[in-house]
Amino acid sequence: MSKEENGAKTDSMELLRLQAVFDNVIDGIVIIDEKGTIEKVNPAITTLFGYEESELVGENVKILTPNHIAVEHDSYIKNYLDTGIKKIIGLGRELEARAKDSTPISIDLSVSEINVKGDRRFVGIVRDISDRKETDRIIEAQQKSLLELSTPAIQLWDDVVLMALVGNIDTERAAGLIERLLTTVSSCEARVAILDVTGVPVIDTNVARHLLKAVAAAKMLGAEVILTGINPSGAQTLVQLGIDLEKVNTKGSLRAGVEEAMRITGKQLTQT
């Protein structure tokens, strides 16, 4: 076998390999020309969109996009060809595509420009992210329901209310907590509110800010707040952050807090 033949054989082997890659990758590949006409799609595309290859080749790529994108698509290409400003080429973005049966598909599209001897084409790589979107949606919903997990304010004694905080406190949750605390203080006519933070994992500037807000709000209603259960490392952080809890009545444990509440309301705990 001559050297040339050998080279040609390697080339065709290489082509076959590339073709095999094109046919077998999980992501969809669409190649369009400068007018937006589809020249080539790989099997991943036909599977994802539900079209036959023959139904797509020769069609404008708009067939794969939802209508609101379709009406703009020609101008997208034209803009790029006129101005050279890349809005999507070389980048990826999440958008919605349209399957044959019109169902929307969430995809991540990245477009590259290829130029073979002056012949310009655009290559779109399409990744189906419906599952990821669904997971995102579930995570979001769960976060929300976690937020809604109520932290009850309990009437501990005639004019003492207890609220035990568990979990992280962010701005959204804090607003709900403060509201519930105030409503309970008001409806129970409480003079003392015990805010127990034993279950709050990290006490940082933000959490401290929310706690101080709760204290200030309860005081406006005329109730004194006792803050209990700040752990040693929490105390360390608060002082290091320069957060002033001087004006807040803090007690180490819930037990000490209850004792203090009883003292304030003029009751006495006796052990028998």
Partner: protein, 120 residues
Amino acid sequence: MKIPILKRGNILLTSLQEDLTDRDIVDLQEDLLDIIGETGSTGLVIDVTSLDRIDSYLSRILSQTAAMVGVLGCNVVISGIQPAVAMTLLEIGGALKNVKTALNLEHGIDMLLAGTNIES
């Protein structure tokens, strides 16, 4: 509209209503100072139970009044701040400064009579 100021022993009572104008509250401030000057009352309860909102102006005037009255040797308690009002005041940063607060009129009077107060 004149806001009535009631007297019970050494304690004065007044209640703010919803349809309060800026003018009314300034008048009230003057009336309170006059009456305390005349009678030498040692306690004042301003009840705001029926207010759904307290704006920054009103909260400033209330804090101011408390300070002025304090100079005259009279303790002030603001009673009946609604939960929603407290939240709004916090949001606008208009928390009533250095004013004693009570849950309701009864508590307010009790506080003044007992002389044990909760500082806000």
